[in-house]
Structure formats: structure tokens, C-alpha cells
Subunit: 261 residues, 4 copies
Amino acid sequence: MRLSIDVDLDYCFPAPADVLLAVEVAQLPDQVLIEDLLTVDGATGPMVPVAGEDGIGRRTWLTVEGGLRATYRAVLDVERTLAPIGTLPICPLVQLPPEAIAYLWPSRYCESDRFEAFVDRHFGDLSGGARLLAMRDWIQGEMDYAPGTSDTTTTAADAFVARQGVCRDFAHLMAAFARASGVPARLTSAYAWGLKPPDFHAVTEVWLDGGWHVLDATGLAPPEGLARIGVGRDATDIAFMTIFGSAVMNSQRVTVTRVDD
Amino acid sequence: MRLSIDVDLDYCFPAPADVLLAVEVAQLPDQVLIEDLLTVDGATGPMVPVAGEDGIGRRTWLTVEGGLRATYRAVLDVERTLAPIGTLPICPLVQLPPEAIAYLWPSRYCESDRFEAFVDRHFGDLSGGARLLAMRDWIQGEMDYAPGTSDTTTTAADAFVARQGVCRDFAHLMAAFARASGVPARLTSAYAWGLKPPDFHAVTEVWLDGGWHVLDATGLAPPEGLARIGVGRDATDIAFMTIFGSAVMNSQRVTVTRVDD
Amino acid sequence: MRLSIDVDLDYCFPAPADVLLAVEVAQLPDQVLIEDLLTVDGATGPMVPVAGEDGIGRRTWLTVEGGLRATYRAVLDVERTLAPIGTLPICPLVQLPPEAIAYLWPSRYCESDRFEAFVDRHFGDLSGGARLLAMRDWIQGEMDYAPGTSDTTTTAADAFVARQGVCRDFAHLMAAFARASGVPARLTSAYAWGLKPPDFHAVTEVWLDGGWHVLDATGLAPPEGLARIGVGRDATDIAFMTIFGSAVMNSQRVTVTRVDD
Amino acid sequence: MRLSIDVDLDYCFPAPADVLLAVEVAQLPDQVLIEDLLTVDGATGPMVPVAGEDGIGRRTWLTVEGGLRATYRAVLDVERTLAPIGTLPICPLVQLPPEAIAYLWPSRYCESDRFEAFVDRHFGDLSGGARLLAMRDWIQGEMDYAPGTSDTTTTAADAFVARQGVCRDFAHLMAAFARASGVPARLTSAYAWGLKPPDFHAVTEVWLDGGWHVLDATGLAPPEGLARIGVGRDATDIAFMTIFGSAVMNSQRVTVTRVDD
């Protein structure tokens, strides 16, 4: 499907600050950019592009002071064949490539080492991708999607106790469950067609059968309409804007439109 | 039933230290002491008795250096009519007496405020004591009793994530669930007839129908054979020995024998 | 000095809730109430008074739904002779009365067990109350009073790392340092003459020479103008309003005026 | 200098387990391997080499059950010109290459976002590498090297509060301070000539003047005698042995000898 992405960010920086923007859609085999343009008004220096984590996607360094207005427009074709995840095998650990190994480890927001007994008890009888689907379904069934109940310090274990959170928390918990079960998992930021209200979205990718496969534990948007931005170990790596300094948000708007209907 | 309690503690203190011992059985209506004797060998000052938390039971201050050998012997009659907890009403908050209110609050090891959504979702349809019994049954069903998997820093939320622990963790989780549901709950240390292997035990007391009622979320010992020592908000309050300094344990032995068979 | 206290609380409760208000000035030897009146508009049941923690002061249970308007007016004489804290002896542990022992323990927001090495290294050479004053001075020198940098989940250790917080955090850190050093310490809520902007205040009381003595680690208000409300192990115990349910604050105002000038 | 490394690991695995060994010295410009050999006795499958994090060094996957005996022998020349760190400039954020950016972020054991106010207050007046040296000196001055006081769950903030720990904790704190100050920092495992008692060592590398520079906040071994194994965000990435399953250590020995004297 062809998607049009529109993003408008309007922020104010009371003092000079460096900002790392990660809003650009990654050029990937299953999501082909037709055109995109990042426009920044208010930067006090040049825009400096820098590759995303794992070499996926692109980020942009800015130096700012005072008002910052950033707009991003993209048109892309998403042509994604969803694999039958339930039937995919889990890779033996000893066959994992180096780029997947780092995603086995517990991380700040995905304390997978704390979930081993739970995961073994609840999902240990399932094998292959079916185990991952059962984890996703458990999260959808047991967690309430409740904006305002978590913040940027909330970990997967916190969300597991609280039984509520937002996409970030659902994605962290999914990644923690997968890693606790010996399956590499990473966080992915994305634009999501069909997400209501529209916003930056976070999903999980799990390593099955030698490749990454998206699982959206929120179930709030169809995976065939995701336009991925970047990946990382957890939310820290994939923030759409990292501010070295302080800022006030005036407004922020994300729009994802299907344009081939 | 008539119980005989024998405790032997053999510790070594490399430097002068103060010690608060809480090993003496509390004199209470449902557990009547026939005789008891605490003997300490190695103290460098007088033994100073001090009331337990909430005025329940008795503790003893010691000053020690070098070897400490403490023995405690008691004989008591436990005559406890177990209330039909499932049928008891939960007290309205506004009728709680001051001594119960402190046991409503979250505490260090019972972070009840973090469990509100979980408790509401899983037990919210049940009323009265039946809700508390369902919590106890959930803990027995979902937690593994596994010595060595937790330590003195483990909280109820930690244990809830890990799904394993010892009596202390089970009691903390039970108290956290109860408080999250508006029911005062406290931790109680006890000698437990039938506990294998014998050791100091920790259980939970919940405030129902105007009084405290024991719930042992481990299910490892019959409540009619408990000889309570002291109570408190969580494990910190009810430690059988609090050491202000450092110590090495040489040996420690607890024996609980029924003597009226 | 004679103080006049005026409090206005205007809240909205979208659903029925129980509320524990702790805003009434405690009647104590060093603060003598001339008159006080708590008025509540919007309660759906009777106001139920209940003693404060440790029998100090008074709290009031309310049942509410919809708007709640509570006003509290008091006039009192504060006649407090401030002890020369720096010269007071620290009580030997074995002489502590039962009511002080609970304030030796680490609590949720005052993790004193984690500060032992720091306290020993920085304050271990000082004895008696001078050690406590040095702790207070360290906190005043190293911490920034910065509203908005902490929240209700912030512990003393969190504040110690962040080096910023509000009165609650300063009081927690003072209590944690004291307890880590073998001195019982409790949190105290108070109205504070001279505090700018006026608000509910939190200070620390330490047990020296057989009694409680106020230390205000913020240094923002003179101790001779404090009108204490209640005490407890940490912020949980002394919240001016504990809500069992959810609420929206419309407005809240505290005024403390000296009326004998 | 020429170093000879000898490692002997003797473990027992009661059930089948996967193990990732990271004990091999990395081939790098400043440490040239003359020879090395990893020998494993007791593996139940082939040894599978896999690159280290960031492409530095090499790790080895093993599948094991029962006894495992691993020995590693290496001879290498360390020819390291130590840069005058105090004079090196800190790179502007916008010029950081992608491989350094991930080391700016807070991580599980280096919660740099929590240290910003402290770092600004204590080191904010210093610029360039002198700021990093001051951080290292602060850690050496304020922290006690005390084996047994921390464990694998201890974070930089925990160690900062406790004021004690081992090399892992010192390295985490150094990395957290650096990142809090806008300087990328990573953890590095190494063999350390002169370390007493000999053991696997952990140090910090900071990104200054376009390259990585070692800082050993413990001061326990000279940087010119370090033989680096691997790098990562924190201790999780650089563990010398990661066990997917359970194991018992029988014995473990590390020897580092200078052989060109």
C-alpha cells in the first residue's frame, strides 16, 4: 500500500541545545520510499545526518535555540508479505549472528532476566513462533492500553506489575518475554496506518528463522501498514527526538494516510 | 494444641555490635504461654527487654562481641478458632481504627499502590473475605516456593515478576494484594508446627470484620499450629534478629514439637 | 508566636471515593491550639475523626463524590524552646523505647541501609547531635531545592543521586542519613510560617537525648514557626490527603500568618 | 610489553546449556596477538566463533552438559601510547559518528540521565578531557573497592549511593558520569597486568578527540598493561561467560604475566 506521512513538530528551546531527530522513514526492502523531505526552521547550525542504530534508517543532528519547527513529509510503498509467524522455528542460540546477540540481553527497559520463570511456566510448552504469538496474545489480554499511566522511566517489569501502559510499554514487555525465552527481540519505532489517534508508534521485532519479524503487542494497527523509522534495544534507542538540554513542546502532529485507495 | 519451641542461635561478632532479638512467643488470647526462657551466653551487657511493634510480643536488646549463643525454649497452648474467612465482611475504610490504618499503606516490601489495576482485574468481582482467599489461592497457584531465589531486598513486586520466593515473599505479596484492595494487612513472624524444614516462618494477617486473621499464602503449615512472635508492616519490622554491625552465623536451629499427642 | 492557619482545598471526585484528610494542627505541649475548625462541603457521609500515627494529631475520614470543598482554620500559639541540638547525646540503641525503634528501620522512601558506608565516611568522626547538624548542612549544601524534579515515587536514594528535590525529598534524605547512623528519625508534616511560597511542609524529627527534635534540611522556614500536623515513617504516613479513588484538584491554598506582631 | 595470559575455567552444568564465552584477547592496533588458543573439554557440540560487540574481538558459543573445562592461553604485545587525556577535546555531539551515539545513552547499569545535576555541579566548570580525569579521581577518592558489597544487579546509581563496589561498579559509574556530561563511554573487559588478585577486569573507554581512550576508575592496574577482550554498553555485554541455563563453578583462574622483562 502507498502511504503518505506528515509530521509537524513545534518546540521551543529556552537555551542552546543539541537535538537528535529520528523521524525519517527507513529505506528497506519492504518499505520503498518514493520521496521524503525533512525541513527544519530555527536550527542555529547545519543539519547533520547520521545513520540509525544497526545501520537502519537515518537520524539528523540539529543545534537549536528558541523556536524549532520541523516538518517531515514522505510517500512510500509498503509491500510486506507477513510471514506465518506461528510456524517459524526459533534459531538455536549458537547459530545467532553477531547482530542478533545484543538483542538477547536484558536491557534497561526490558529486564528479561527477571521474567524467566514466568515465561517458562506460561509459555514453556509452546515451541517456535507459536510461543511468541502466545506471548503477544497474553499481553493483549492482560494489559490495559491506558495513556497517562506510565512514563519514560517505566520498565517492562513495572508495566507487568501495573498491567497498563502505552505502546512503548507493550513493546518492552513483548521484547522482555521473547528474550527471556532465548529469542532476540528489538524495539522498532514506526508510523502506523490505522492507528487512532495517530502518533509515533512502537512495536517489537523478534528474530525467528534467521530474520526479524514484527509483532505489535498492542494490536492497535495492522502490521502491513507500518513504516519503520529505526530500531534499538529499547525505547532509549528509538526516541523520535532526543534533547540534550530542555525544551517545551508547543504542538506535535503525525498523520498517516493511505493514498492508493 | 500444646507446642514446644526450641531455638538455638550460634553467631560470631568480630566487633562490638548491638542486636535486637525477636524470638519470643507473644502472649495472646489464642496462644497461651505455659513457660518460656531466653538464655544468652556471650552478651557484653545486660539483656534489655522492649515491647514489640503494636505492643505485641517482646523483643530483647543485646550488646555483643565475639561469640553469641542464644537459646529460647517455650511451651504454649494454641487454642485458635479459625474464623470462616470467606464469609467475613471487609470493613469500610472510614470505620478503620487508627491501629489498622498504617497497614493500609504501601510499604517498602509491599508496594500495594502498584498492584491496584491487577487486583481490580483479577479479584474485583469478589467481595468480603472470599476476595482475600482468592488472592491467597492465586499466590499458591502462581508462585513457586524456591529457597535461594530471593534475598532481603526482594519486594512483593519483584516476587510477582519472578514468580518465586520464600515465605517472606509470599507474605509480602499477600499483604500487597490485600492493601491494594483496601484491606489492612500486616506481616507476622511465627513458629509453625508442621513446617518442613523447620525455620522461622512469615505469614500475613488481614483486617476483616474488625479483627486480624491469619492467611499463610505458602500453605506450608496449618494456621492452627502457628505461634506468633511479632507483627509489622513488612519483613523489616519482624526480623528475628537485627544486627547493628556485622556477624557470621555458625549455626541456627528451630524446632517446633507438638507435645499433647 | 501566635499563628493563624488558613487552608482551602477544592477537589473534584468523578466517582465515589474515600478520603483521609490530615490537615489539622496537632495539640502538643509546644503548640497550643486556641481554636480550629475543619469544614467540609460535598461529603456524602459523616466526617469520621481518627487519631494520627503514634497518637499524634488527628485525621478525618470522608466519603465523597463530585465536588469537595474543605477549609481549615486554626489559631495557635507556638512556644518552642529549641534545644541546642549540636550538644545533645545520641541514645544508645539498647535504651531506645519501643515507640522510637520503628523509626530506626529503613522504610520505603528512606532506604537508610543503603547509606551506611556514605554516612560512616562523611559523618563518622562526629558524635552526638553535631553529627546530625552536619548531615543537615551537607543536604543544604549539596541538594538543589527544585520543584518539579521529583514526584511521589522519589526515594531518598533517588534524591541523593539526582541532587535535587523538594521538602519531602530533603526530609527523606535527612531521615535516611540519621537512621543509617543509628538515630531514629521520622517525617513530620507541618505548616511553616515564613515558607515561600506557602504550602504544606515536610521536615524531619530525630531522636536525641530521649526526645524528638525538629531538623528542617531545606532551611526554608524557621523551626520556631512550625505547626506540626502529624508524623510517620515517611511521606506515605503524613500525606495531607490520601485518596482511595481518583480526583482532580481545582485549587489548593495554604496561608500561615503571624498574628501577634 | 609482552604479556602471557592463562585462563582456566572449570564449571559443571547439571543440565544441557548454551554458553557464550568471551575470554579471547581482541586483535587491535595497540595489542598484537602473537599466539592464542582456546581449548574446551566437555562441550557437546562444535565451538562456534562469533564476532564481539561493535566488531571488536571474538566470542565463542558452546553447548555443554556435565563438566566443562576451558583453558585459554595467549601471548601478545601491548604497544600503547597513552594519550594525554587531560588535554583532549570533547567532541561536539553533532559530530559524533553513529558507532559512538549508542554509547551516549543511559543503559541498564549506567543510568546517566539520573546524574546530570550532580555531574554539572561537580565537574561542570572543567572542559575537555580534564573533566573526565576529575570524574575518575572523584570515583577513586569517594568509592571503596570492596569485593562482596555488590552483585550483578548493582547499577551505577546503586554504587554511587553505597560508595563501594568492584571494578564493574567503578567502570559503570565512570561511564555514567561521562555520558551524563555528553561524552560517549563504553565498558571494556580486559586482562590486566599488575592486578592483584588477578581476575577478569572491567574498565571504561571514553570518546575524546575522535577516538576511544581507556580510563580505569579503580586505579588498580596500569593502563599500559591492559589486554582488551570486548566492549559494550555495560556489564551485560562484556560478561566473560553468559550461561543460558544453570551452572556451578568448581574453580576459575586468571594469570597475566609479563614475559619480556
